[in-house]
Amino acid sequence: MSTLPPDSLALRLGGRSVLLPKRATVVALSIVVLLALAVVASIAVGNGRTVGWRAVEAFFGGQNSFARRTVFDFRLPRVIAGAVAGAALGLAGCLTQTLARNRLATPDLVGVNDGATVGVLITVLGSTTASIGAWWAGPLGAIAAAVLVVAIAGGMGTAGYRVLVVGLALSVTIEAFTELILARQQVDVARGVWGWTIGNLNSRGYDVALPVLAGLAVLVPLALLASRKLNMLRFGDDTAATLGVVPGRWRLYALAVAVGLAGLAVGIGGPVAFVAMAAPIVASRLAGAARVPVVTAALTGALLVVCADTLGRAFGPVEVPVGVLASLLGGPFLLWVLLSERSADGNGGAR
């Protein structure tokens, strides 16, 4: 018999030991490579003359200074913002799906993203310029929505199920607020903001990407630290508790981190749909279902959003918002997940 657990490499040094899951590591590294390629491709797509190979050359220091400015001051910040938002959504979805033990439990479906959207919209209220709103209001709105949902659900419940139901109901209500706020804006402001409320990375730059990156630098390690506990939560509450992991406490922790991540993501790119649901599912199919795919889900989310944003800009002068593309691709994906869940081995996911 080989090592135990069989799919991992145990690295030991003195009294310390770290487990490196083989397949998940290979998958994560592959996605990093794909993400790098997608970033370069994304930079090469756009309006003007600096496109294609010219843009790639500029990115690696060639071409003239104008081309380099186009790439570094306009394209790159947007791509980074997209990757960061995608990673945050993928990770947030991974956390909420695990804590509720249900694949439909994602920040977009339980009202967290809607709360963040309203939060950001409120900062535009009364503005006469068509600004997109302050990113920092995203996390605040997300937290407010999450607190409301958990309070109405009466705590975290036994398996987060009540949170899911209450969240579904509340998200519809909160969405109505978005519409209400939009309806009361001047037409040009409303139009500018509307594009963002369906998920859009247009004119997002370093000023947004950097503070959000800093937020992620705090939240991602917090999520990684919890991944061992999350693995235990996949066993029933009784088993987790008798193995020393208090389920309620860790669910609350995971929810708090997820809400922060989702709020930041919405603050950047608006409520991009489906990434939070699809990324963890794709990640778990790729990296294996043996453990919660925290890292892979984040990378997959980043890859999805960068690809969707690139696609949206690749065809014609009018760009398709990333949120629209994500929904277009995500709808069929959701169907596929729900239908394949019912067949064959689908007894562990949506219950």
Binding site: L4, P5, P6, R12, R16, V18, N231, A241, G244, V245
Partner: protein, 271 residues
């Protein structure tokens, strides 16, 4: 380690389901809690396992109150196999068993040599080593239950709690799992406390019986002494004969036909 329960009370809301329960479970022995549905035996086990906060009394392992210690610390003393444990999707036998090591692990102690040794020993002791790479959800009920026992063994605790470990198994697998439980108690001098439905199985495999009714202990002691037709009548309201098994003399309960008087169970709701 000795498991002691003193004056334990437990309630759901205002309804008290366990009242003033005292007993001691000694190392190297198997203690079985028996009684009708809703008699409080599962709640009692949950209180011992630190899953249900008692409203009074104490549960101690080697003198240390389990409710005064951290959940993680208690997880190195007590292991529980719930009645219907949940396995994560697509987990393998080896994966399942290695999760039993969690209370001994940390951020930079994710898989020590002790973890490896304990998991291997658990796989071997329960006879599931050759299934290590198989998916748990594709095994038979008996194999699966042995895997869960392996996970509990890997946790390497002096006290092992089992909630109806054989309730979903056929006769062959029941015998197999109960013999394994006896072995678990004997080998490392573990203290085993289990809730069992089947009186005859409890009588044959346990060193001590604790019979409960309406949240109280009504009889306690060695199975051959405790298990009488009077006890069966008071627990289940059934007239029964207690025979000695021809093979080993262990008590066997045979209910008489048409003897049920369903008035007995005062607390028949919930388990």
């Amino acid at each position: 380690m000795k498991l002691t329960v003193e004056g334990l009370r437990a309630a759901y809301g205002k309804r008290e389901v366990v009242s003033e329960v005292d007993f001691v479970a000694a190392p190297g022995t198997v203690t079985a809690i028996v009684g009708p549905n809703g008699c409080g035996k599962s709640t009692l086990l949950r209180c011992v396992a630190r899953l249900h906060k008692p409203s009074g009394g104490r549960v101690t392992v080697d003198g240390a109150d389990v409710w005064a210690r951290s959940p993680r610390r208690v997880a190195r003393d007590l292991a529980l196999l719930p009645q219907s444990p949940v396995a994560p999707e697509a987990i393998t036998v080896a994966g399942l068993v290695s999760h039993g090591r969690h209370p001994h692990q940390g951020l930079f102690r994710q898989w020590s040599r002790q973890d490896e040794a304990a998991a291997r020993e658990a796989l071997a002791a329960t006879g599931v080593a050759e299934l290590a790479g198989r998916r748990v959800d594709r095994l038979s009920g008996g194999q699966r239950q042995r895997c869960w026992l392996a996970m509990i063994l890997a946790q390497d605790t002096p006290v092992v709690l089992l909630d109806e470990p054989t309730s979903a198994l056929d006769l062959g697998h029941q015998v197999e799992v109960l013999s394994l439980i006896r072995k678990i108690a004997g080998k490392r001098n573990r203290t085993v406390l289990m809730v069992v439905h089947d009186l005859a199985a409890a009588a044959r495999y346990a060193d001590r019986l604790i019979a409960m009714r309406d949240g109280r202990v009504v009889a306690e002691g060695a199975p051959a002494e405790v298990l009488t037709s009077g006890l069966v009548k008071s627990l289940y309201g059934v007239e029964a004969d207690i025979l000695a098994a021809p093979g080993d003399g262990a008590p066997v309960v045979v209910a008489r036909a048409d003897s049920a008087s369903p008035t007995s169970s005062l607390c028949d709701k919930g388990a």
